[in-house]
């Protein structure tokens, strides 16, 4: 706190040397209550993450004997134990999640971009009806969808397969909604018209002119859908029984189910949870500067 105050004072002194004498008291220059409130919020949100980072370093006996926030010495063992668990099924789960979320989000972004672009740029019959019907999908509880989806996919012999988890998650009503908002804001009608004057086909205008303008919005849609699919539990829980195809959420759950009664497995569950958190947190930190959150909430606003 004090070093910050000094930094602030120095910068203030540097920019306006004449006013050093009139510097207001510390309390006035740092909004103390908001800063402290936010730090408490940050502490609350980081606490479980900090705990799992430290707990993952503890060996089985250390977990129950040493103070919670004291790092242990067992991370390497935990890591190799987890990797060896059932011939490395844990890494299979991670790979599956990457596949479901990566491919699913990519396809979802394409479908959203097509639809959002069509709804934003063209005037055609049934436009608002199609949009409203697609949007109603947002409000459909996943449960009323997941069970009949399972039963119908069972008839097509697609349950317990990668496609069974992938296909139902491609269409994202929210993604279509965001794409429409973004395309309407980012692609000027004149540009599309100019393309037509030059004799370009609609598809060519879309791929060469409009799509590049929509890229920042599409990154948001991709990330949003990536997180949604990675975090989804209900659909794979219903759809899959072969644990070779499980995503990481479901895998960890089954590990916990087996481990709950055998504390020896706790370390595996904890290390597994820690490693499962890393990819999303890293992704999150790297992309948060590209992630147009204004769009995310701007869309909610209108």
């Amino acid at each position: 706190m004090s070093s910050l105050a000094v930094g602030k004072a120095e910068s203030a002194a540097g920019t306006t040397p004449g006013t050093v004498q009139n510097r207001p008291p510390l309390r006035r220059r740092i909004a103390l209550i908001p800063t402290v409130t936010l730090l408490f919020g940050a502490l609350y949100c980081l606490l479980p993450v900090a705990w799992v980072v430290i707990a993952a370093t503890k060996s089985g006996s250390e977990l129950f004997s040493t103070f919670t926030f004291l790092p242990g010495t067992g991370f390497a063992d935990n890591f190799s134990d987890l990797s060896a668990y059932r011939d490395g099924v844990y890494w299979q789960w991670m790979g599956n999640s990457a596949l479901y979320a990566g491919l699913g989000a990519l396809l979802s972004t394409c479908v959203s971009a097509f639809s959002g672009y069509a709804l934003a740029i063209y005037r055609f019959r049934g436009r608002e009806t199609i949009f409203n019907v697609l949007l109603a999908g947002v409000l459909m509880p996943p449960v009323i969808l997941a069970i009949p989806q399972y039963l119908l996919l069972a008839k097509a012999d697609l349950t317990d397969s990668y496609l069974g988890v992938l296909l139902p998650q491609i269409l994202s009503p929210y993604g279509v909604y965001l794409s429409r908002i973004y395309a309407a804001a980012a692609v000027p009608g004149d540009v599309v018209e100019a393309g037509r004057m030059d004799g370009a086909s609609e598809w060519r205008i879309f791929t060469r002119v409009s799509l590049p303008m929509m890229v920042p919005g599409m990154v948001t849609v991709f990330l949003f859908q990536f997180v949604a699919i990675w975090n989804n539990f209900l659909l794979p829980y219903i759809m899959l029984s072969d644990d070779e195809k499980f995503p990481i959420t479901l895998g960890l759950f089954t590990l916990l189910e087996q481990g709950a009664n055998t504390p020896a497995l706790y370390t595996l569950v904890i290390t597994g949870a820690f490693l499962a958190v890393i990819p999303l947190v890293v992704l999150f930190l790297v992309i948060q500067r590209f992630w147009s959150l204004d769009l995310l909430s701007g869309a909610v606003k209108s």
């Binding site: 006035r28 220059r29 909004a31 908001p34 800063t35 936010l38 730090l39 940050a42 949100c45 993450v49 705990w51 129950f64 103070f67 919670t68 479908v111 959203s112 097509f114 639809s115 069509a118 709804l119 055609f124 199609i130 019907v133 697609l134 409000l139 509880p141 449960v143 009323i144 969808l145 069970i147 009949p148 989806q149 039963l151 119908l152 296909l167 139902p168 491609i170 269409l171 037509r196 086909s201 990675w230 975090n231 539990f233 209900l234 829980y237 479901l250 759950f253 916990l256 189910e257 569950v269 904890i270 499962a276 947190v281 999150f284 948060q288 204004d294 995310l296 909430s297 701007g298 606003k301």
Partner: protein, 311 residues
């Protein structure tokens, strides 16, 4: 002539072509399953004879039987009450905190805002199952730092995974996971308020608290309404958090939330007809509650506006 008409046709057909993938996916994975669920909810299986051989099990019309069964099913009603209680904790606390943090982020001279904003938003990236798992371990006396501290201080150690505290334990997981996202939504609309709005208040010498209560909160009311709306929908469908806590405690039954009951009936008991009727009821109740809230909120907003105009 022909080329212009062909082009006109191309333009005309283009939006439908662009919408084709979404339409097909919607028909296959939204419309068809919903229709099928509704169809199932009005049917049941009739077993003739010993139920052996082909044709012994027939799907017959059941009318409203599945619905009346569901509405008189104590497990489902109890689950609904539990989730209502849970929602009454989660939604106000989560959105209250989200609003508080957003206002604090928006206040002048706040330090470390980028760091705290990111930290509070971080749980959004963590799957509900993993969040429940992390907190589940923090609730376990053997490994939890809270219990360690309580024990050292010689204070009583409550069982967080049983009875009343269980609601708090589950609510805490949802609040932890959802506050950041809602905070960002509210914060972004706070940022969109033009600076001129504050000028008059500043000239009048309003305190930051007065500005927050009298200007900022009314200005972001629409985003508050929408975050409320989506939070209600998400809360009523809670599934993965209690399911994840189940292995850690005996107090979470397989039918703790209505959704868990639907899952249990469909896959535990294999009665997809009853499950479909229950799912339909949950969907209808969710839509009724969330849209009821939306209408009430809109009506109040309009009243406020007209009152403001009258003044």
């Amino acid at each position: 002539m022909t080329s212009t008409s062909r082009r006109a046709y191309g333009v005309k057909g283009a939006p439908y072509a662009f919408l084709l993938p979404a339409t097909i996916l919607f028909a296959l994975f939204f419309a068809l399953p919903i229709g099928y669920a509704i169809w199932l909810s009005f049917h049941k299986v009739k077993v003739s004879g010993l139920g052996l051989g082909a044709g012994a099990r027939k799907e017959v019309w059941a009318g409203l039987e599945n619905y009346t069964d569901a509405l008189t099913d104590n497990e489902l009603v109890d689950g609904a009450l539990r989730v209502l209680g849970y929602g009454c904790i989660v939604v106000p606390v989560m959105l209250g905190l989200a609003l508080l943090f957003a206002l604090m982020l928006d206040s002048e001279k706040v330090r470390l805002a980028p760091f705290t904003r990111l930290a509070i938003f971080l749980p959004y990236a963590i799957p509900g199952v993993v969040a429940a798992l992390l907190w589940g371990f923090l609730y376990l006396p053997d490994v939890s730092p809270f219990y360690y501290v309580l024990e050292k201080l010689g204070m009583p150690q409550p069982d967080l995974l049983d009875g009343g505290p269980l609601y708090l334990a589950l609510s805490n997981i949802a609040v932890w996971g959802g506050t950041g996202f809602n905070m960002i939504v509210i914060y972004t609309s706070l940022q969109a308020i033009p600076a001129e709005v504050y000028e008059a208040a500043k000239l009048d010498g309003a305190t930051p608290l007065q500005v927050a209560l009298k200007i900022k909160i009314p200005m972001v009311a629409p985003s508050l309404v929408l975050t409320f709306f989506f939070s209600i929908i998400a809360t009523l469908q809670v599934f993965s958090e209690p399911t994840t806590l189940k292995p850690l405690t005996n107090s979470v039954s397989t039918t703790w939330s209505p959704l868990m009951k639907v899952y249990q009936d469909a896959f535990g008991k294999g009665d997809i007809y009853a499950a479909a009727a229950q799912a339909t009821i949950i969907a209808l109740a969710t839509l009724l509650l969330s849209f009821g809230f939306l209408r009430a909120a809109n009506r109040r907003n309009k009243q406020d506006v007209s009152q403001g105009g009258a003044r």
